[in-house]
Subunit: 348 residues, 3 copies
């Protein structure tokens, strides 16, 4: 693709404008780039690689325009990383899987699988439906009565359990499980009574689920654990039974929701953040890494700590902590000196 | 099932007593319930849904009796959630799997599988034994010489590795692994020497293991990692090599034991709690979410923090922390004022 | 094996030297040992079992020589646990898997598999290469174009995704995934744009990867996530896209690196420790359990806390914390008393 054409498709400004006939064949990092590589600068940490890059063109923010070395075309864009993501998809198109069912796959006679690719050892149960363009890799399981939309990818050993559903363009990484049996029991001193998990789980369109992440089914019939459209779940994320994740939310590795927790749209849970059961977090709430949320939070809140508090207050605490013991020690010394010089009248 | 019959089977008091012929066909939440639904109120958070419920009957604590709206039968029970769990099993019976081995399963000729259901792509190794009523779903693996009791359920891709054993009525969620190779090596500056893991792992009767949880095999021959009867492990739980979990213990998501740790009966590890290697926690110990236990704890202890301390002391620390910096600042100001007014005799 | 021969092979001193003809057939714990058992004492916690042991011989540090009970041969070694690891391998040799491809395995016609054992339901994609002596257990997946060296073990449902590579003698536990799709997207208020993950992942020789651990593929073409030779990853470890783990590093359960983080050789991440994206930790850095590393650290640093600080400073903070509130309260009381006795001249 020529730089001029790519700039047009990305909505980027080409600079210098004479660089339009640079041919770009691949994306790559600044340090490793070659003359036909499109690179990008989005993280200031890597600015040092810009000067010496051999890239044919680099996606840059407007403010970085001047830093682009001579002979390298700049593609100026307000959001160079999003532009890069789109360029990568353009320059490295992934062909759709060829439809067909491998003879060593298992597809129950009552399942409906049309226009999908089903590899050996994938398993599709009775009454399941798999949409066109979907790719079931080795060991993918679509349980009885489960529904998978179109253009999904179920990587090896990912599971959509009985009665659960995926929308369109959902991507399950290896080992991702939709519809595991939730942690449901009534505790008792002489043993715990299992609560059968009778509900389902729904993953809406355009969701990506990381390696081994687990979305448990809901407890009650006609209820569903739900992951909203466009959400991104990293590896080892848990969505407990009956929990709900709003659209476009981001859940980083090892983060999760306990049962019946509900988070709004565009929420961000950083790595290892956890939300306790039955809580509600409003739209756009952000939770820092490792935090444990123990109460509801309104839209827009930013939380940190364990138990989580307002992020700014938490920052102040963390900043004060290292020196607090020193300051208390100094106070004790100064106070003892004052007391020595001002003996109590009741002292002997 | 008629309300009167259900009340009798659950040991609940029906109120008003004239409501005995209400027919109950399913369980459900208060908000979604319909006239033939049995619902329940166990968490005060949902009391607001009680007034408007359309449920035919609701399981309630004695103290909530008066809150039940007219026209809804109350089933009064001291432990409504346990009663609900039993009612759900009664109203939604899960038929046992039909015995039979799918032609696309692999069962070694020396394995003993009788009265079990074995789905396509389940794998049963040489010398393994699988009991009647057990269900091996797609991709379940029972390794060489492993033993699985009766009425177990091994969901897709769960694994019982070579020589390990499950009791009866054990439920492995998708990806649960019994008998992984423990984290065993002798560290050294020029490289680590692997310690072969020669022991086994035993999961006793009525244990439920969550999605992807990992119970490693013991290091030494004739030793076993052990999970006691009735224990419940949530998703992503780790039981390290040679560790022991007492009966009826509860391990919430991402919690775990390092190698050779031992916890007694009825212990509760909240989410992300961890117990370091070789420690012992007595019966009934409770560990708060995210805590790291670094020393032994006697029966009944309640721990929190990282490193974990007594829960009450930890609570006091957490409560004091936010204002401690403010109080130190105030002290510094007041002390400076006193010092100003009481100059040291050695000052110039 | 006779004690004298074993001592010679391990480089241990036999004591008393007359004990050379004790026959050792197995390894075992001090408490369970029988006359033909070789045991060891490496953790002081188990010293109480030494006196009563029935072991034929015990590996001991020189300083423990005098504690060995009469009738038990001591094998004196500076590093008894490493010696024990080697002895266990000698006394319990694991036969290599018998080469052969099960008829129920899937091996693409363009794959090269020679001298490996491939169990039923293992899957080897087009263009993949699997080396001799390697064992693919049930459900192991070697993706298109992936390469697996010799003498590796891929336990059930472990995955080497398309184009990724394992060196020699790599051991993947059940569910370990090399080459998952990283958490890659450009975030945006109206939805996130997927960044195709075009790079690979390389696991070098002699690495062991725990149950369900996930090593994501790199984002950019020609880049690779990399785990260096001899590293040990416990269960539930994440190596983010483009991250690098130095040789012989140890990553304990639930620890991990976010994308593009790099850690040097011989680094230790204790359980649940996390390193944020793009950071660099030098050789030999040690991170305490549960810590969150948020900035670069030089070789040899020891870190703890969340956010992580120098370990010694963190220890001092933790030690001071429990009593700090008490000390502040005492200061407030004493200061009030002084102020009462020294009223401000401006007071009425």
């Amino acid at each position: 693709v020529l730089a001029a054409e790519l700039a047009a498709r990305l909505g980027a400004e080409l600079w210098p404008s004479t660089a339009g006939d640079v041919e770009l064949r691949q994306v790559g990092g600044l340090a490793e780039a070659e003359p036909h590589t499109l690179s990008f600068l989005a993280n200031a940490r890597y600015r040092r690689h810009l000067r010496g890059t051999r890239a044919g063109a680099v996606l840059l923010r407007p403010a970085e325009r001047g830093a682009c070395p001579p002979g390298v075309a700049a593609l100026i864009h307000a959001d160079p990383y999003t532009a890069f993501a789109r360029a990568a998809a353009l320059l490295h198109p992934q062909p759709p899987p060829t439809p067909g069912v491998d003879p060593a796959a298992y597809v129950h006679e009552s399942a409906v699988v049309e226009g999908a690719r089903v590899e050996a050892f994938a398993w599709v149960g009775p009454g399941a439906v798999v949409g066109p363009g979907t790719w079931l890799e080795a060991g993918a399981v679509v349980g009885p009565g489960a529904r998978v939309g179109r253009d999904c990818r179920l990587m090896p050993h990912s599971v959509v359990a009985a009665g659960c559903a995926l929308g369109d363009r959902v991507w399950l990484n290896p080992g991702a499980v939709v519809g595991g049996e939730g942690f449901g029991f009534a505790p008792g001193p002489a043993g715990h009574t299992k609560v059968p998990q009778l509900g389902g789980a729904i993953v809406e369109d355009d969701v990506e689920v990381g390696v081994h992440s687990a979305i448990d089914r809901a407890t009650l019939p006609d209820q569903h654990t739900r992951v909203g459209a466009g959400a991104r779940l990293d590896n080892f994320v848990q969505i407990g039974h009956g929990a709900e994740v709003g659209p476009n939310s981001l859940l980083v590795a090892y983060s999760g929701l306990a049962g019946s927790a509900r988070i709004g749209a565009n929420v961000v849970l950083a790595a290892k953040a956890a939300v306790m059961g039955h809580l509600e977090l409003g739209e756009g709430v952000r939770v820092a890494a490792g935090s444990l949320v123990v109460r509801d939070a309104p839209a827009g809140a930013t939380l940190a700590g364990s138990p989580a508090i307002d992020h700014a207050r938490w920052l102040a605490q963390v900043a004060a902590a290292p020196e607090l013991a020193d300051r208390v020690r100094a106070l004790e010394r100064r106070l003892a000196e004052l007391e020595r010089r001002l003996p109590s009248p009741t002292d002997p």
